[in-house]
Symmetry: C2
Subunit: 301 residues, 2 copies
């Protein structure tokens, strides 16, 4: 037992959401591995896409996910792939997310190691994206994926699109893969006691980065017709820099301007423990608190 | 992976805090066990006592701790034991604490199984205490332990003191053991912006059970001379029924009466995750939140 065990999450997306036999072969290397936990995998037939979540010790995760990528490279032929989700590779994207005792710098290094390994094992060219990006215009995955599988062979020959790993030549059946590093994203909604969507939109604009607000907030207004209320709906892309409580209190403060009460809020999907304990620590004015003071921490480490 | 994995904590106390060789032999059965995590063990030479914390799957924990108790029974002779801490057995107390997906009823059942097993394997009589107690006057460990090892042989012969497991006869060298079940205890202090101890005492009285306040709060006032402030210091013995935020807000409300600000608070030692996430959920008005929404939960289960 040590308090320094590093935990990374990895969420590889594969371009196969229909053939269950192939899906099982892709996830097989992620099952029953020492120091790697297969959290879940979901195949979407319409998207024709498989989203896998694993967590564990960084090198063990890298190794196991690489084997899944080798399987996907052998099994998936993008020349015969159709689905509603944009894609450019058999293994489309491989984001790494720091969960415990890991800096973003370490996560970026892991992504680079993975990019190198994918090219060496599979001869699939790799672009690095988000925090791992080698240049600013490659931060956004959308920019990298533009043109999709069908346009990639040509795109790689353009001046700006030499891959970070590999040659200017797509893998004939598996295309191109993007490997990235990013903070865990928190999908968070705040309920307003009004049915006036303009107010939710105005508050969303005031808190989001594109409106001059918080750097790591993407927000909009949305109407919940059946409840007769509106929400400020958002993604928090770095909860360490823009903590939940700060966003919540700011929305409360802005809502006051319209005489509108904040009714509550909700987290959609998963959130890192630290985001919640940090919120509790803020409201209680807790000093010297961190997640090592939680009983359950002994089970993680 | 399932979300129903049960986790219990067990904190056996052994009457040996000086002989490192014996201490290692007692904890040996708790090391490197499947589904059991030895969280820590601390020996106090003045108390002449060893406090061990383990966590894991209930039956695996019971089995491993029983082996530690067998070792302690063989190694410790209370006829030659001296120390500052009260004690009545080589294995003095064995509390079980529900951590995840476990009701108190299940924890009590585990304690009863352990009591039975201790008598069968070691011929040490067992009293059940706290939530596992077979009658109200045995809830309090202090009452059970009164008379200590030296007085136990006689105490067991009294009408009211037939053990829950075993005969009315102490183990000649290992005495008597108490096995119990209780909620995790949270040691929690709230800082007041005054040096007036009377105010801390008055607030402590107003929130604690013995003063007519909350059922699961034991509280007092204490002076922090070097900081020039006072604290309301407390144990929360059931955080599900008396959640932290409610105590904190009540103390804030009472402090207002004296024109005293609440400066912050602190958790001493460990707290269960749920106590903190529940606090965050209260302040954010989170709906549908529980710990299964934490990324790290997948690693525990």
């Amino acid at each position: 037992m040590t308090s320094e065990v590093k935990i990374v999450e990895c969420v590889p997306n594969f371009s196969e959401g229909r053939d269950l036999e192939k899906i099982e072969k892709i996830v097989a290397p992620l099952k029953n591995q020492q120091d790697v936990k297969l959290v879940n995998y979901e195949a979407d037939p319409d998207y024709n896409r498989l989203v896998v979540t694993v967590m564990g010790e960084p090198q063990a995760v890298k190794k196991a996910v690489l084997e899944a990528i080798v399987a996907a490279t052998e099994l998936i032929d993008l020349n015969h792939h159709q689905g509603e989700h944009l894609r450019m590779g058999a293994t489309d994207v491989v984001p790494f997310i720091p969960i415990r005792n890991m800096s973003m710098a370490e996560t970026v290094e892991l992504a680079r190691e993975m990019g190198q390994a994918i090219y060496e094992r599979c001869a699939v060219p790799v672009f690095l994206y988000e925090e791992a990006a080698s240049r600013p215009e490659r931060k956004n995955l959308v920019t990298i994926r533009k043109g999709q599988f069908e346009g990639m062979a040509e795109k790689l020959k353009q001046d700006d699109w030499e891959p970070d790993f590999g040659k200017r030549e797509i893998h004939a059946t598996a295309g191109v893969t993007a490997v990235g590093a990013r903070m865990p994203l928190i999908a968070y909604n705040i309920d307003l006691g009004t049915d006036n969507l303009d107010i939710a939109n105005a508050i969303a604009r005031s808190i989001r980065q594109s409106g001059g607000g918080f750097q790591y907030i993407k927000a909009g207004g949305v109407e919940l017709k059946e409840k007769g209320i509106v929400q400020v709906t958002m993604n928090i892309t770095d909860y360490r820099k823009n903590p939940i409580y700060r966003i919540f209190e700011t929305v409360k403060m802005e809502a006051m301007r319209y005489g509108v009460p904040v009714l509550g809020s909700e987290i959609i999907g998963l959130a890192p423990l630290e985001a919640l304990t940090d919120t509790a620590a803020y409201y209680l004015g807790l000093h010297d608190f961190d997640s090592s003071k939680l009983i359950e921490t002994a089970l993680i480490e």
